[in-house]
Symmetry: D2
Subunit: 276 residues, 4 copies
């Protein structure tokens, strides 16, 4: 939840939950001093909580109005249904599948959509449906229509762009307002757009990085979820940059997905609060 900051919010909310028999398991709160905005993430046990999930909104509405709060509530036992979008480079997709296979990503992955065909083999190793939607020499609006249709049939609510090298239209993005996470292969805002490693090579930087962010209409401008960098030096050719960068991309992408799956991200303005 988020709301304007004022005295006693924590007390109010914890009292509300406790009063209905809820046992608080996790509580993280944060006040953005410069904006006077309060953010909180609360996890409580459904055992012994008097209000069924479906009636929570009704039950909470007095407190919500009093605080002027926006809030989101989810059942932590219900898994997100995520689709991966992928192009020719498969390292981020491979990492997601590995982590998924090892049980580190609490999510369902019903399908992978690629505009190249080379991801098919890897997807199928992990028994995930692969759908090839080529984007060359085709009407991109038609492609997106097909994709949205597929996603909708599979009840996808979260999309991970695992180095998908096509720009999505505003219409597409609008359908998943909180739910498209992209991994960009630079430390944004540096080197947005195409070929960030080439740009980095030419600028002669001594660090490279990666950025996971929510996708918005503005290319590479959405709220940043996670970033990381590593040192490089003059000895890194364009190709070495690309390979060294892949390790950061994997790590940052997974971190962002995990935070999203655990509902640890709150968007505000073009920024994010990401609880630990």
């Amino acid at each position: 939840m988020k709301c304007p900051d004022r005295r006693g919010i924590v007390h109010e909310i914890t009292g509300f939950i406790a009063g209905l028999g809820g046992n608080i398991l996790e509580l993280e709160q944060f006040v953005a001093q410069d904006e006077d905005e309060f953010f909180m993430r609360l996890v409580w046990s459904a055992d012994g909580f008097e209000v069924p999930f479906s009636k929570f909104d009704l039950s909470f509405q007095d407190v919500q109005k009093k605080l002027g709060a926006a809030y989101w509530i989810d059942d932590s036992e219900k898994k997100d249904r995520m689709a991966l979008f992928v192009s020719g480079e498969l390292h981020c997709m491979a990492e997601v599948l590995s982590q998924f296979y090892l049980g580190n990503l609490p999510v369902d992955i019903p399908l992978i959509i690629g505009n190249h065909e080379n991801a098919k083999e890897l997807a199928e190793k992990f028994h995930i449906k692969f759908i090839h939607t080529p984007t060359k020499e085709v009407d991109i609006k038609e492609v997106e229509k097909t994709q949205i249709d597929i996603l909708s049939r599979h009840k996808i609510n979260l999309i991970g762009l695992a180095r998908y090298m096509r720009i999505l239209s505003a219409d597409f993005i609008e359908k998943y307002p909180d739910g498209i996470i992209n991994i960009h292969h630079s430390f944004l805002p540096a080197f947005h757009g195409a070929n960030p490693y080439k740009q980095a090579y030419e600028r002669g930087v001594k660090i490279i990085g990666a950025t996971a962010h929510f996708v918005t209409e503005q290319l590479d401008q959405g709220p940043i979820i996670a970033q990381d960098t590593r040192e490089i030096h003059h000895g890194y050719s364009r190709d070495l940059l690309r390979r060294a960068g892949q390790e950061i991309e994997k790590k940052v992408f997974i971190r962002a997905l995990q935070k999203q799956l655990q509902r640890k991200i709150i968007r505000y303005g073009n920024k994010t609060v990401v609880f630990e």
Copy 2:
């Protein structure tokens, strides 16, 4: 030295030095594959070397011509004479003075120039002359003329901009073509220009950083020498960003100065080779 890459350069050069009785103490070389350019840093002992320092150019000219090499030679026992330029924030200057006092910076620091007066006390603690050249409500050309005059009288060959918040003119910079090192408080090319921490706060990045670079006419566009970053999170206010960033600035600035003092930097194009 640097020259177009070809077979046998290392053999040629090591043979030249050894043939004149030089004992090679350090050798670092690097080939920029994409540009076919060869770079080498060589340190040898003057003991037993047949050619006096002043005659080296003459002695080396055959090899130099054969390889088409550009090279720079220095006497490692002769110290650079560095001036620091500083404004209101003193953490980079304080770090330089600390490291200098502890014997970690092999340099002479005859003077510190500031456009605020608050650095005077700290400079004088370390027995370094402080000269106040205000930059507000004055003719900046006159200020620069005064500064150049002072620098010249003190035989300064290296300038460290220790968070000096004024832009130097092309004329000024030209006088020190390899010798002005600036510390910028962002991971360039992100957030160049003014108020990088404010920019970083507003963009909601999850890392901050600092960049040491040679100063050129284009603001914050010169060859990068060193960079570093650290993770931050939503909990960092503008002020916390600034403080956290200071630690990186100090570290990156010192690293760049040390590399320059040890002649471990070779510029090429708008980039640098920085040997370890």
Copy 3:
């Protein structure tokens, strides 16, 4: 404060503070799941709080008993009085003095005690009294007695061992049960005891580090407050290790002192909770 974990602690405490007119400014809590222990740090404004500082214990005792809580309360406007202990290597002391001078350490530093004399000059640059207590060829018990006497006269409540190379006796340590912070030049528990960089060199590690910890009777075994590491490689001689390590030592030592000055550390068992 800390207490056994149970339902409703946050609600109870925030209710207690709010009920007395206190405006909570910062709240951090943590539950050690494996030990079922609850930890909280709370900062509230004295403005409008009905209970004067001196009467807080009385006022809080019902809640305290109910929860079985241990707690510590401090006036954030009252500064700690810290003494530094130092031997021959001055980089940690220099960093503390720099940060202190720049206003980044909210503390008073009435004196520095050294068993070498070389710190005197630097201490006096910053107008801090330096006292030389040699530890060679003397009765160490007498030395400690003198030191304790000096510390007591200067009302010191916090001691920072800024690379002080003498072991303190149990009797000495006992007098400052929460108040001696040491910086050890390795990533403990690796390389405890003497000459950690030599040990690291001989073991051929690829990282070095530093550890700030509370001093206890067991040498280098006290609760760890902060640690950091950096990568090194085969090219680091013993001397380069030492120099590279100094930068980490400075950083880790300052971080630990800042946490202590802000009362962000809670000890439990031989461990620490360190709030952000």
Copy 4:
């Protein structure tokens, strides 16, 4: 190669290679100052090199004797044949298979040996033979005999212990004197032996790490190839430590394998030179 340091080694060797028509592609050298030992890695093109691979030893012997050099020569087009050993935790194995699949590990992996059966499925996804050699309630000598037999039949020359939780006998290790690389889940020498994350939790460290090393008879004491760490805090339970650590283990293990496959590691004493 390695040899006692003296003047002119680089010149001598580069002259030898160039004299036989070899074009040097990569040259890295290092002098261990404290031990007066010289190390070099040289890659040259077989094209135009007059000496066939099989006759190199003969051709080089004069130089080798003159310098007192130990050296190792390999055909970079010939791939190592690596076996993975694995127990119940599969993250390191999964990472190797991912990187292998994506073409980042220039190696053949004919088989995976596990003392649990759960790795079978993942191995077979990547069409790698899995052999189950249980180690409970069996004669461990017999198990090792079987394993050695299998390895020998598959012409394995490199073994990667991808979190294999059994100690190998001296006899086994002896058969692969330079060829067993283990990933240990701590920043050695801290927390050697069993349960390093439990040890780390109990000691209350603020960093965790991983170490890749050559296996020798002394458990967790062999020459270190690569290490890395990351910061943690009091909020990491034993289980979170384990998960956070897995990411470092993967990274460090892959790094060590890549260095070994590229012949960038030279062992000396109980240490390693690892070229970049």
